[in-house]
Subunit: 155 residues, 2 copies
DNA sequence: AAAAAAATGTTACATTGTATCATTAGCAAT
DNA sequence: ATTGCTAATGATACAATGTAACATTTTTTT
């Protein structure tokens, strides 16, 4: 799908939260939507400066990312301190907690929904030792199909 | 178990890798063994300086942590950029890939072994979209029993 | 003792993240 | 339109984290 169409949808999503998808926010989100990989705040600041010719300080990028995350348009990868656009911006669903497969070689990220039963199994294992799972977001270190091929990983 | 006994065991583990548990390494590992929480390299540098009166620069701490991790005596929490002592230093087993439950409130960490079948289920879900799981270490954001009580989380 | 390897020290710097206050833009109500 | 309010962004300074590179010391091996 076209980036612009996704951004328009994101704008509606903002409105539904009584907020605006401003020009700057749109730029940051566009950078993430166009990227296969997760990007850091500084990556995005560079992106805006180099590709768009607009100055955007890291401080602002952090704030914008925090905002976009708060309404579910982007996700933060805690293992990498980087951000990705939500894969379901156009789905208009109740954005669920996602799981991420992160290729350790090329850095590409795939957002997936792992089955509820698996999450339940994990949750039960956690409860068994007296803890409570409060965040279902998993980040898994993987090889993507391409990199697995190049590295000769056995199927 | 006494910290010293654990450290002695760790020393043997080092020997079995043809390496030494030097005084500095012992200090760093002791800091982790005594801590309920995960500690950053800088935390440990502070610990050595304040509690032991020995100077240890962060650069050295990083190297020591990397070494201890390479022989399985400590684990690195990628979501927090912090380190914990392996919970099985004295078990003398083949150290397996662990999973970590991290209390988001007090920061305490519990190392557990989630059942093989769960890992297998996750692995299969990953394969289904063409990725390969290369690291089974899970880090789960939790509430520990104490903090759950204080926060009134329903059992 | 000499050479080699392992371990640590030291300095400098790159990267990442936050605190704080200032400024600007958008909008509602008088 | 102007005042006043809030959202949004700019700007500066700094804190925290991590790494590169080379020097020095200690230990082991020959």
């Amino acid at each position: 799908m076209k980036t612009e169409a996704i951004l328009d949808q994101a704008a509606l999503h903002c409105e539904s939260h009584g907020r605006k998808l401003t020009a700057k926010r749109r730029q940051v989100l566009a950078g993430l939507v166009k990227s296969e990989k997760a990007l850091s705040a500084y990556d995005l600041a560079d992106y805006c400066r180099e590709k768009l010719g607009t100055s955007l300080l890291p401080m602002s990028v952090y704030r914008i990312l925090e905002f976009l995350q708060s309404i579910g348009l982007v996700h933060r990868l805690n293992t990498a301190n980087k951000y990705v656009a939500c894969a379901h911006i156009t789905c208009d669903h109740a954005h669920e907690i996602p799981q991420f497969l992160i290729c350790k070689v090329c850095g590409s990220v795939r957002e997936v929904g792992i089955t509820k039963s698996l999450i339940k199994g994990i949750s039960q294992a956690v409860e068994k030792v007296g803890f409570h799972l409060v965040n279902n977001q998993l980040e898994l270190e993987c090889l993507c199909a391409d990199c697995a091929l190049q590295q000769g990983v056995a199927q």
